[in-house]
Amino acid sequence: MKIILNGEALETSAADLAELLRERGFGPKVATARQGEFVPAGLRAATPLAEGDRIEVLAPMQGG
C-alpha cells in the first residue's frame, strides 16, 4: 500500500506503525503521528496503516 512518510510517498507492506518503523530502520529515539494525531509509542503496534496515511516520525533535533 502507498503511504506518505515524513512528506514522501512510498510503498510499504507494513501492517501497523510499529512494523513500519522496523521496516524503515528508524532508531529508538523517535515520536510518531498518524494523520496529524500523536501516536504514543505503546500504541504503535495497535495502529494499523491504511492506504494514503500520512505518517510523521520525528526525532530530537537542534533548536533554539
Partner: protein, 254 residues
C-alpha cells in the same frame, strides 16, 4: 538562583542547540557557557536525530524542548505531546508563531495552548511578548514562568522595549522571568539581568559568532555580572552631576 517549576538552576543562561558550525563546537560552547538548560526541537528523522540526542545527553544539562515553527494551536499542542514522550519531560517551551517576518507569537493561540497543556500536566515556558495583560492571562491559565522576547528571534537586536520588560518585572515580582530571543551581545544579556530577570535564553548570538566558544564565555560573564549588579541594588541615575570627591576640606589655591 532561579527556580523553574521547583527546579533550581544555578546558571542564568539557557542556551539553544541550533546553528553551530559543528557538534564539537556546540559541546564546547555549552561547557564555556555553564548553561544549565538546553533547548531542543523535534523534526522529521532524516538520519541525524539519534546522534544528536547522544550529543545532547552528553552535555549533562536539563532539556527544554520547544514547539518552534508551530503556527497553530493544534500543531503546537500535538508537538508538545510528542516532545513529552520523546524527551521524557513535562517541560515545554511553547511557541505559537503568529507572523512570519517577525516570528512574533500569536498570543491568543498561545494562551489557549498553554491552558490545554497545563491541564494535561505540562510545565509550560511560554514564549510571549512583553504585554502585561497577555502575561497575566498566561499566569491565569497556570504558567509559572514567563519568557518575553527581547527582540525577534535571531535578530540580535537586544531589548527593544526596556520599559515593557521593566514593567513586567515590577508587576510580577515572584514569577520567574526569562528574556527569550533577540539577545545579540553580552551587554543585552547583562541588561536583562540588571533588571532583575531570572535568566536569558539565547542561541544565535553564540552559534553565529565568529568564535562561538568565546562568545558563550562572554555571555556567561555578562549574565553573571548583571545578576550580581541587580542583587547589589544599583544607585538611582540622576540628571545633574553630584561630586563624588568630598567638597569639604578642599584647599584654597587660587
Amino acid at each position: 538562583m532561579a527556580l523553574f517549576y521547583g527546579v533550581e538552576v544555578e546558571s542564568p543562561l539557557m542556551l539553544g542547540t541550533a546553528r553551530y558550525p559543528s557538534p564539537a563546537v556546540l559541546a564546547e560552547a555549552f561547557r564555556a557557557s555553564g548553561a544549565g538548560i538546553a533547548t531542543v526541537s523535534l523534526r522529521r528523522e532524516q538520519g541525524g536525530g539519534q546522534d544528536f540526542w547522544a550529543l545532547v545527553q552528553s552535555l549533562g544539562v536539563r532539556i527544554l524542548p520547544n514547539t518552534a515553527g508551530c503556527h497553530s494551536l493544534r500543531e503546537a499542542v500535538t508537538t508538545a505531546h510528542m516532545a513529552r514522550e520523546l524527551f521524557d519531560t513535562p517541560w515545554i517551551k511553547l511557541e505559537v508563531i503568529g507572523e512570519a517576518d517577525s516570528l512574533q507569537p500569536d498570543v491568543f493561540a498561545l494562551v489557549e495552548a498553554a491552558r490545554i497543556l497545563v491541564e494535561e500536566g505540562f510545565e509550560v515556558f511560554p514564549y510571549c511578548t512583553e504585554d502585561l495583560v497577555v502575561c497575566g492571562r498566561l499566569l491565569d491559565v497556570g504558567c509559572r514562568v514567563l519568557m518575553p522576547w527581547g527582540a525577534p528571534i535571531g535578530s540580535g537586536l537586544g531589548l527593544n522595549n526596556p520599559y515593557g520588560l521593566r514593567s513586567l518585572r515590577a508587576h510580577f515580582p515572584e514569577v520567574p522571568l526569562v528574556v527569550d530571543a533577540g539577545i545579540g551581545l553580552p551587554s543585552h544579556a547583562a541588561r536583562a539581568m540588571e533588571m532583575g530577570y531570572d535568566a536569558v535564553l539565547l542561541n544565535s548570538a553564540v552559534a553565529l559568532a565568529g568564535d562561538p566558544v568565546g562568545m558563550a564565555r562572554a555571555m556567561a560573564l555578562a549574565a553573571e555580572a548583571g545578576r550580581a549588579a541587580f542583587r547589589a541594588d544599583p544607585m538611582e541615575p540622576r540628571d545633574m552631576a553630584s561630586p563624588s570627591t568630598p567638597v569639604l576640606g578642599k584647599a584654597f589655591l587660587s
